[in-house]
Symmetry: C2
Subunit: 240 residues, 2 copies
C-alpha cells in the first residue's frame, strides 16, 4: 500500500443533502456541467430519478433501468450528485475470487478511519455484479417506495469499474453512510447501482478527502421542504 | 427588507463536525490563521475549550470565563470553528424593546427557509444579554458535562454585536441546529456565548450560503473517534 498526502487534495462535492432526496425532492437546477466542474469521478441520479448517474474519467453516464449506459450532456440536471477529482492515494490488489460478502468485509478493512470520507475506484474482473436502476418517476413517490419499482440485473464474468464513496455515519443526512458504488462495464455499455460484487481480480484505489463541499439548492421545493421521513430507515430500504 | 443574490457568495466553513466536539475531541490542528482565511465573521472555541471564539470584522477574540475578551493570534488552535465572509444580504431593524423570548421568535420569522444555512450579525443596544463561557479543560469530560462548570454572566443596558449562524436540523451532526450566536460588547472588552438577548434597538443582517465547506481533521483523536454520545441531547444541554 502506498500513500501520498497532499494538503491541496480536492474536497468531495455533494450537490445537495441526501435528506432532500429521501424527502422526495427529485429535481434541482444543478447541471451535469456543474458536477463536472467539481471532478472527474462521481455518482448520483438525474432529475425525476431518470436513471443512475456514474462519472468515470470525466465522462458522465446514465445507467438505465434495462442496464444500458448512455453518455449524458452537460445541460441535463441532477437533484443529487457526488463528485471529486480522483487520483487515488492508496492502492490494493485482490487477485483471488471472493464472494460479495467477503469482498465487502475486505473493503471495510481497507478504510483506515471510518470518520473520513473516501473516494473509491475499483477496476478489474468480476464473477458477478448485482446492480439496479430505477425508472423515471412521473409522480411523487417517497424514495423508500421507489425501491419497489427498481429493476435488478446481474452481470456474470464481466470486466468493469466501480466508482463511488465511503461516508461516515455522522454524515448520514448528507450522503448514504458506508459504501456507495455504481458499476459500469469496461466497454462502457452497461451498468447500475452496485448491490453486491464478487471480484475475480481487481485493483482498489482509495483517496481520502480533507473536506466536504455540500450544496444547498435554492429551488422552491428544497426551500419549503418539510422533514417527514426517517432518513436512516429509508436509505436502508433503497440503497441496500 | 432588501436582498441581493450573488451566486459567487462565499460558503460557510466549518472546521470539523460538531459531532466530534460532542464526543470530547477538544483538540485539532486548525489554526486561527486557517479560520481567518475562510472569512471575517465566525464563532467556535479553542483547543481544550479554552474560552469562546468570536470573529468580527476579521479580528478573532477569546471570550474568557470571567467574560473578558482578548484578541487571539493566528497560531492558536481550534477544534471547532465556523467562519464566512460576511456582507449581509438582508437587513431588518428592531427599534422597540423586546424580551429575549420575543426576539428569538422574531429571528425565527426572519429566516426565509429553515433548510438553508445563514450567517447572522446583530448590532445595537440591549437591555440584557445573558452569556456564558467555559474554563479550559485539563481532563477529558464529555461536552454535556462541561455545562456544569460553565460560568454565566449578564450584561445590562449594553451596546454590542452578536455574530453567528442559523443551521438546518438535518445538519445537526455538523453544527448546532437553529441559532448559534456569540456576543461581544461595542468596546470589544467583554462577551460570551449568547444564551438569551433582549434588544432595545438593533439591526439584524442575514446572509444565506449556497454551500457548506466541512473540514474533516486528520488528527489521531478524530480518526479513531468512536461515537458514543447522543448528539442532539448533548447539544441541548450545553448550547441552550
Amino acid at each position: 500500500m502506498t500513500s501520498s498526502r497532499d494538503p491541496k487534495r480536492p474536497p468531495v462535492f455533494i450537490s445537495a443533502p441526501i435528506a432532500a432526496l429521501v424527502e422526495g425532492i427529485y429535481r434541482a437546477d444543478t447541471t451535469i456541467g456543474d458536477v463536472r466542474e467539481k471532478g472527474d469521478h462521481g455518482l448520483g441520479t438525474f432529475n425525476d430519478l431518470d436513471g443512475e448517474l456514474l462519472m468515470i474519467d470525466g465522462t458522465v453516464y446514465c445507467l438505465r433501468p434495462e442496464g444500458n449506459a448512455e453518455i449524458i450532456g452537460d445541460d441535463v440536471k441532477t437533484p443529487f450528485a457526488v463528485a471529486t477529482h480522483f487520483e487515488g492515494d492508496t492502492e490494493e490488489v485482490f487477485d483471488r475470487p471472493l464472494t460479495a460478502h467477503e469482498f465487502e468485509a475486505q473493503l471495510h478493512d481497507l478504510i483506515p478511519s471510518k470518520n473520513l470520507i473516501y473516494s473509491i475506484r475499483i477496476d478489474g474482473t468480476f464473477s458477478a455484479v448485482r446492480a439496479r436502476s430505477v425508472p423515471k418517476q412521473s409522480n411523487y413517490v417517497p424514495l423508500a417506495e421507489v425501491a419497489k419499482v427498481q429493476t435488478i440485473f446481474e452481470f456474470k464474468d464481466v470486466e468493469g469499474s466501480l466508482v463511488g464513496f465511503y461516508t461516515p455515519t455522522f454524515l448520514d443526512s448528507v450522503h448514504v453512510p458506508g459504501f456507495h458504488l455504481h458499476f459500469i462495464t469496461a466497454d462502457r455499455k452497461q451498468g447500475g447501482h452496485a448491490m453486491g460484487v464478487a471480484p475475480l481480480s481487481v485493483r482498489v484505489r482509495l483517496q481520502h478527502a480533507p473536506s466536504v463541499e455540500l450544496g444547498l439548492p435554492l429551488t422552491l421545493d428544497f426551500l419549503t421542504m418539510e422533514r417527514t421521513r426517517d432518513i436512516e430507515a429509508d436509505l436502508d430500504k433503497v440503497e441496500r
